[in-house]
Symmetry: D2
């Protein structure tokens, strides 16, 4: 693991997610860019001191040369610290599981992409919401035509935790609102890319053009905290995407609604074990995770019977377990977001900024 | 009543709404443009044959000259038949309660506006969703500052009843998809204007510019059946508005969410007796119609205790009852949508069409 | 109308309900047992002073002898004032629409039943929740076997408005907690009878025995404010019934869940336009009032399209409109609760009291 | 681990739950009573063959005498196989984490209790629903008086997976419906004990008497599949408990509602990250797991921010992590269900059976 030392949030999530299905063991890390913190964090997590590094380049080299060296690394640093380690480990032939968004600029994104192309190692981007069983089932349903031709997509990711100026000691807010660490995108980067990724993952459609109206409502904020985005998708579908960090009353309101010419689906991340499905002229059905009448579906990616809720960590674990299968050659990783998803996310961020700066104009991909 | 004969939908709604609080009596009508149908409909509704007219102009004149002539007329015809009767009755000094949208073009809209200016009679446009008690309470709450400065508005009106080519004998679908009867707006006119009106009614903000991406997804349809609209509102707030008649699984999905810098609210028409209200840093509250902890509010416009649901007809009845109060000089009708709301709606329709035709550009008001 | 003068609650509800479908006109009344109040109330409602009576017996006689005398009377007094007017009007040959529960004791109930038997007039008891379209549809579905053989019924009616000692001037609470006016039942009479009636109406089953554990939690309260009841129904089904006036957070929580050997349904009065229906091994369906896939059903008792909510008043209006059809010989009133429902309710009240007093023992019907 | 071999359900759950917070490592097991299956299961889970036992007594002895012997054992066998291993490991001084219900009879339960008393080792019973953060918060709230004096408890655990005769190869259904393996309780044992335990855990009250009406609705079933239970709790509170395996449309419908003289709460396991809380005369609040306005509360037992759902496995993990803390002397295990909860559950099962057999009479504790 690179990053994820004391005070971090997403590192702990990655560690639990990797552990749930017992497919990974944490044996080495460069857990912080501050040497003392790196050491202390490594100790707290029970790492062999020899494998608790203070520098990711050193770690990549050392691990690549050990007979018991790591097979894969999780990169869980802020955005501006993704490219360096990703490239270093890819060059060392070590598989990379990287947090999203890919990085802070398209230029860097393309450098990573080149490293992916050149490496024998795999690259996985943890757009973790694709791991929710019902989102995978929704993708299956659309693939096999249950919804018909897709017409309309409504994607939202609304939060309120940055609706006011955060406290000075809020580390999570601090780097997310700092263009040097987060890149040019605020809400669009941190959560907008998740909404876009989930919409494309499930619908199978790609964005062809977008138009964005970005705001930074909180005084003094340098990056957007609210984004209204229209998208024109492949195949003629139209999408609306709303990402907000100032929507009072929304905790983690990621929702996806997709309407085709045969049926529609609706899903909300905060209660992820249910999805509605309505065929034209029939009553709305509540599809539960692994529940009755699915014909396979979500049950393939679930650990416990329907009615026992799974959550965010289990969805994240599905991404890790699929990564393990891919790395071990047990599966082809067809459901795993990779470098393409990362490049699409970077295009999204940069196109939103370009569109909004121009007063809200269409930007083609 | 003008319109509302056999086979009509909204006429019956107006009749019930006017009756609920016992403030109106139906005594005259030109219920259809087809004479036989007008007569038969009048008979079925128990009208005095002498006051069951076949022509609205004749009705306006005759009623204006009777000592027991009607005080007010309800116009419940398709859009292209609003202007004629509205102007005729206004000129005859008879109060007009007119269905929405105002008419089929801005030009006609302005002719009605002139007639309103010139008349001693009142003009009320039945944007009936403003009659829901909780929407009136939300307006109060925003007016008194409970939400702080408004930042973001998310308004939706999604249906699915026109998701396929309707049956040839579906009279309701037929006129709504015919530009000659409906005007240039499809979904934007029939339901988009409701969403906009409700958003402005509750927020107190006005649209300053919009950008629209309209589609007619159903083959052969001449008018839009899906509209994605971005709006810039007075005071710097941003709005998203989605109107759709092809969203499979949505019956009458009018929802309004408004977020300020102090709090946010969320409401959905299909379960109109509850609204959520969240102050920053506090748990979400469920505000019920007339329920605990309101301090006045919705209880002023409700007939039965909380927990006993009121619905669409009661909200509509509130508009009628307020109209009666206005007409009888008992109240100032401050909550009643009138000609201004009508003109705003017509601007919305025409601006959406203009924007979309130009490929999705901003149109200022 | 008898009762329903100033300060009353349910009288106003009956008046609106009778008006919604324009089948009744209020022309006479004995609106209060206090003469001045009766007169003032009659005036406020626009009654002809001659037909605004101060005594129900006088009213029954006078109206029966007028050529334009009333066809039907609504009795909307507190429970202890049902029997007198009901019998008087039945004897006068005037149809009676009576609020529930039937009366305050089984003895009186049987006197009313005798009067019903002896009269040419009809007797309707306003168990208004049977008027909800989806409850009627549920009854249809069970009748035609959609749920199979019924096994389990869970019925609840939970409120919180009497969770503390009410204010001295709360007229509604005052008579409901006074054994002289309400009879021996508190929550079981006021709301428990509704829950039982709805359960039997929908399921088609009858109670064969019950066991009750009653409490009066509020200090000094003479009648029960919480009732836990087990029932054994005809056909071997088992039921649980909970009625409470002290359940903090419940406004008017009437819910009904019925499970058969083929399928189950769930419905809640506070959002009455939806019901779930689950066949074994299939996804749960959301059945909406008048919505897709019904095959008739609730659409027969509804005024507006699905997605436009109807509420308590429209359900109540269905009872009145059916009563009008029955009185005019247009229908057989098969869905209308009558004297049988009233006697069953009285048995329920008295059996609950008997059971609870005996420490919670089974009482057979 | 004892039990949990191939084809088992709850064993896998225990393994994940123990792993989530990285406090346990699985190093030994007697995973099946069938030797070949025990071996194969051990191999599949990566156990050292030497520590993959075919007999729990052998395992208890061997592990107790190893310097690196296990500190704790999880017993995840069917009910009739709890007592043997529990006593064996307790006698060997090894901590026991045992699945519920405690065992199949009160007599055996008391033998386990004696072993607990006599042992230096701890005994934890995995009533896992007590691990849900909001249930722990609810307990805190009641303890500190937020609800006032408790009046009414409504507890339910409704499922439908045994609503028909299960397939012959349904191993989970098979032992649960076999009195030899399950004991005398069907639904009351498998899920009713969970509902009772959660109600007592949260409310702090104890059952003083109960009355049960049990049914076996599915033809040929030997154990109850539906239970209607009334309870009289300490302090004068009254409770209703419904446990069912034949409630069509219910997947894992464990719900708890508690009403005091100051406030009420409502929670449903299927969406466990929210709970409502209503103070008398105030709007209902939605309390989210770790969300705003808690003052500590659920946030103490959660891994990720509010809005990111946690589920069944994380709740289960809280029990395991608390067990680790207790075993390592880091905490006093005050929230952990132990032998007392097990004895209470056995009393519940036996009292329900006794009551129902007697026709539905009160049984005191």
């Amino acid at each position: 693991m690179v990053g994820g030392g004391q005070g971090a949030f997403i590192g702990g999530v990655h560690r639990i997610a990797s552990r749930i299905d017992d497919r990974f063991e944490l044996v080495a890390g460069a857990l912080s860019s501050t040497p003392e913190k790196a050491k202390a964090s490594g100790e707290a997590l029970g790492l062999d001191p020899e494998r608790s590094y203070t520098d990711y380049e050193e770690m990549a080299k050392a691990e690549a040369s050990r007979p018991d060296g790591i097979e894969a690394v999780s990169i869980v640093t802020p955005n501006h610290m993704h490219a360096g380690p990703a490239i270093a480990f890819l060059e060392a032939g070590i598989h990379v599981i990287c947090d999203k968004p890919l990085t802070t600029s398209m230029e860097e994104a393309e450098r990573i992409a080149k490293a992916v192309d050149a490496s024998s190692a795999k690259f996985i981007l943890t757009h973790n919401y694709t791991g929710y069983p019902l989102m995978r089932q929704a993708r299956q349903m659309i693939e096999r035509g249950d919804l018909g031709k897709i017409r309309v997509i409504q994607a939202e990711y609304a939060q309120d935790w940055m609706a006011e100026e955060p406290d000075a000691d809020n580390k999570q807010a601090a780097w997310r609102t700092d263009p040097k660490k987060s890149g040019g995108g605020g809400a669009i980067g941190d959560i907008g890319t998740h909404a876009l990724n989930l919409a494309t993952f499930v619908s199978g459609l790609k964005p062809e053009a977008l138009l964005a109206d970005l705001d930074a409502f909180v005084t003094g904020r340098q990056l957007d905290d609210n984004a209204h985005v229209l998208l024109r998708m492949s195949g003629g579908a139209k999408a609306m995407l709303w990402a907000s960090q100032v929507a009072m009353g929304c905790e983690n309101g990621l929702t996806l609604r997709i309407y085709g010419d045969k049926a529609g689906i609706e899903w909300a991340q905060e209660n992820p074990n249910r999805m509605t499905f309505t065929k034209f002229g029939e009553p709305k059905q509540i599809i539960t995770r692994g529940g009755a009448g699915l014909g396979g579906g979500a049950g393939d990616w679930t650990r416990i019977p329907p009615g026992h809720p799974e959550g965010y960590l289990e969805g994240f674990a599905n991404v890790y377990t699929d990564a393990a299968d891919l790395i071990q050659g047990k599966a082809d990783g067809a459901l795993l977001p990779g470098i393409e998803a990362g490049l699409e996310g970077m295009w999204f961020i940069e196109a939103c900024i370009e569109s909004s700066k121009a007063g809200g104009t269409w930007v083609k991909r």
